[in-house]
Structure formats: structure tokens, C-alpha cells
Symmetry: C2
Subunit: 322 residues, 2 copies
Amino acid sequence: MAALAKVSPMSVSRALRNQEGVSQETRELVLAAARTLGYRPNEIARSLRPGQKTGMIGLVVTNLANPFYSRLALGVESIAAAHGMRVLLTNTNEDEERERDIVRDLAARQVDGMIVVPAGFGHGHLELGIPVVLAARPPYGIEADCVLVDDFGGAREATAQLLAQGHRRIGFLGNPPAVYTGAERFRGFCAALQEAGVDLDERHVRRAQQDAAAAERATLDLLDLDEPPTAVFAANNRNTIGVLRAIRTTGRQLAVGGFDDFELADMLGVPLTIVAYDADELGRHAARLLLDHLTATPDTPPPAARRTIIPTSVIEYGATPR
Amino acid sequence: MAALAKVSPMSVSRALRNQEGVSQETRELVLAAARTLGYRPNEIARSLRPGQKTGMIGLVVTNLANPFYSRLALGVESIAAAHGMRVLLTNTNEDEERERDIVRDLAARQVDGMIVVPAGFGHGHLELGIPVVLAARPPYGIEADCVLVDDFGGAREATAQLLAQGHRRIGFLGNPPAVYTGAERFRGFCAALQEAGVDLDERHVRRAQQDAAAAERATLDLLDLDEPPTAVFAANNRNTIGVLRAIRTTGRQLAVGGFDDFELADMLGVPLTIVAYDADELGRHAARLLLDHLTATPDTPPPAARRTIIPTSVIEYGATPR
DNA sequence: CTGTTAGCGCCTTCAA
DNA sequence: TTGAAGGCGCTAACAG
């Protein structure tokens, strides 16, 4: 490259970065050569210099197949791209072991920072000397920014709505308690019951379904009880889908509450009480928090660990659309 | 690091890569030091050496908000991860200019190869000296592997199904013809009409909707015609959703065919003729094709440009589920 | 305005 | 078995 332009590598470097201190003539020489070669400076070599960043951020999610996480990724990507940064996308499948490996690998690849949906509760492996922002789940044992959904509040409000409709036997379908959102949403569910003076019936609680098929089976289970619930609250979109399928299969009456909005919720002809929130915004916000750290300078020190709660709203979808 | 272990950088390098020619003693010294420091070799510096790869592949899609592309990303990530590679995820918003920039940037970041859903038809900018696999759309003016959906065949078969149901006035809703899939699916639609001896009525064709809202308006438009279609074929999931909303809004009778399956298609209480295919597999296959190139050696030369067609199937969802 | 030197972290090659 | 030298592509700092 420098050879083609017949100048030193330094002149190439300067010209290509639009630095001053290069004659018009040299600059054009370089630009012409670059054009004919399709030459672009090696970003990786560039970032090798001390103090340089790679412009890459790692994104670690637990399950890309879940629309929630693809929206999150979308939000992160949009903010990153707007700041000239790229996103390294990885998937843990909710496997802590895998998460450890991935996180170390990303650090070894010199990402400037990471956004992580952590799979477990020990977060020591996230202390890597680079900024980390947690998404959807809070930090344990480390200091880090995080962006959460109002899991507790949303579940409580939707459950309260079901109670207000007169339901007293309400089933719960959700993630294992080991998943933060599952635990919080169950707490919210319980809180609403308690506030209404309704006792929780443990037989109506199913907390192990990770996919729609399992949720469908669990719902059928509930419907088979002697005193089946008249309503159920599903703590996430997988479970909501399962409930809806069970209703269709059996033709049984069952009021449905659910966490996570989904596209055709208004078109199912089934009344639905849905906890909605902006998943894109969750990703965008996480990215912004991370960028705060990346752009921090001695004068503008990185802020202390922040916790943002993305608000939820409860939507009532009627049996008849709109 | 080398200091802590009190050995030379070379011994560190060797020990950490499990190379032979290191004494047990030295090896343990190094491993211990690495553990206490949480040290991992800088992958980026490593890849700077001549002939080394970065282990990164670029993924360039047009619209991450569309579930089709997030499934594609999921498929790519799964194969990449299984081979120890990472995915750099980017979004072009169907903007050719942006695609040019992104593609050059990825190359400058030294990705080993890229999987691209190209926005336009001039693909010269994809010749960057690194392997490129196109997804969902074929190459123009360059040689490259690609993985396509059977757009033509799927649209034809679904349309034929509508015709077999007795429909003669069938509307078409789709992408602009400038998008390959839009053009192909329209071709398939026309082919089916022709085979049935039905003339295409241009007034029933709307090819500019990029989102569900626009598709809904277009459908309302069609329904307002003097001789409205009795069925419509929507060439992608955005348009199908729009049609369904229009049906709900107006309560009008309208048979629906659509390209792209979606989760609750069976639960809408509306008969639906859907062209389905495996979007994950499209991503996985693209990744495999790319890996073929990346693992190619002088003895196993990279295969010539290949074109894989992902098959489609037509599913009839009834008005009553299951 | 331009070029030389040096070094980022790593590893191949060669020498001890 | 170990280490020193040199260079991957780039650029800050320092000549010229």
C-alpha cells in the first residue's frame, strides 16, 4: 500500500485518518492508491496500540430463540451501530458453564464492554476488568449497572386485574424459581393474591416449564384437578402460548393473564390480560449505560452502579378485536 | 504475567497453548500465575500474526426486527459457536449505502468471512477477498455461495391451493419488486394463476408494503374495489399480519394465503394457507457453507459457487384449531 | 511536510 | 527446555 503510493506508511496512516500535516499532493496519492487496492486499515492492528479500543461490545443472552432476546439484541445493535460500534452476539442456552467460557472468550477478544443476561447467581466471573451491564436480571455479588423489567409490579398488577374480574382460584405457570424473572413474577403474583386476601393454592402452581409444549401439558394438568383454577397467570410468553394451546385443545373456559406481549395477542378471540413492556428499549438502555462507561474519562468518571427499571403496562385484549 | 511466573513470555505462550517442550515445573508456574491474574492471551494480538484467523464471522441482515432474520441469526450463531467462532451482528435496514459501509467495516475488522442478506442488486462491494455467503437472496455479478428459500415454488403452490379452493379473484400483497424474494414470490403467484388459466388483475396487486400497518391499509384498499378479491396471497409475514388485521377490522370474508409461518397461525380461527420453511436451517446452512471455505486448504480447495434451496411446505391452518 | 523509531501482545524461528 | 530476535499492521513521538 505504502509502496503503491510511494510514500511512507506514516503518510498513509495520516492521510487515511484525515489528519492534518499532510500535503494535498501526498493525500491524493494515498487516497488514489487506497481506492485502487480497496485498502482499509486493519482495525485489529489499530486497536492493538495501548489505550485503543476495539469498538466491539459483547452481547450474551440466554436464548436467542425467544423473541424477547432478539428484541433485546435489536435494541443493543441499534445503539451500538449509531456509535460506530459492533456487537458480538452469543447465546448461552441458560448454561452457566457456557456463560463463563463465553464471557472469558469475549474478554480475550478485547471487547470494550459487555451486556449480559446472566444465567446463574454467582456473578464473580463477570469481573473481568471491563464494564459489564446486566440485562433482565440483577447482579449478585458484584457491582454493575443493570436494566430490569418491572417483573414484580407487572405480575402483581395483572394478577390483581384477574382478581378484580372475580377469579379466586388462579393458577401460576412460570420459569423455575432459580431464574430471577421467574422468582420476581411469582412474588408479584403472590403479592396480588395476598392483597386480595386470597390464599395461594400450591396445587395450582407450576414452575418448571421452559417451553410452550411443557406449559401446555402443565395447563392440562391444572384443568384436570378436582377444583381447577378459573384463571391462570403465565409468567412469560412461552407459558402464555402453552396455556392458549391448552384452551384451544380442550375448549375449556379459562381466563388468561400473561407476562410478555406478543404480536397477535389481540387477534385470538380470547380475553387476555397481558403485561407489556418495551423490550427494544431494554436493549437500547443497556447499551447506553455501557456506552457511558466506555466514554468515561478522568473528568467524567463512570457513574456508580445504576439500576434502571423498565416500566410495564397491563393491556386487556378483548375477545373481540380492537 | 511473564513477570509473575518469572519466566519468559515465550514459556507463557507455550504453556498456555499446551505446547510440548515445556517442563512440568514451568508449566505449573505459568498456569498458577495465569489463574491468579485471570490472564488470557489477547486473541486480537494473536490473530495479527500472518496467516492467523480472527475466528469472527460477520452477519449482515436487513431487518432484525423481522422474526425471520432473528431465526437466521440464531441458526448462524449456533453453528459458529459449535466451531469456536463468534458472530458480529449487523443490521442494514435494507439500505444499500449502509450495507457497503458495514461490509467494508467488517472486512477492516478482519472477519474470516461473512454471511450477508444483500439489500440491492449490485454486489461488487461484496468482493473483499474473504469468503462471502449470501442468504435469502442470490448473488448478482459475483460468484458466491448462497442459500435461498424456494420462493417461487412456495408461492406458486400456496396460490394453487387457493385456486383449488375455487377462488378466481386473488389479490397479491408483497415487497417491492426490487427485493428478490418479493419478485420471486410474485412470479410464483403469477405462475399459479397462469397454470389455472386465470388472468392477473393488476388492480389486485399491491407491492409496496414493508410493514403490517401498510399491508392492512392495502388490504382495506382491495376490499374497497368494485370487484374485490375473494382471496389474497401475502408474500411475507408482515403482509400476512396486515391482512389478518384488516379482516378483523372489517369482518369481511377473505381467504388468506401467506408466505412465512408464524407461531399462532393455527389459533386465529381463520383459515390460512401458509408457506412454511425452516429459517433456522437457512442460517445454519449458510454458516456451514461459509465454514467450508474457512477450513479449505490447498488439498481441499474451496468448492465452486453453490446454490442451496431450502424447501418449503404449504400448511393449511383450519378455522378450528388442530 | 515527511519519515524513522519503537512498541502494542503474540508467536515462528533460531540460538543457547 | 528455555530465551532472544524479529515482525505481523498500526501510530505516537520524535527527528529531519
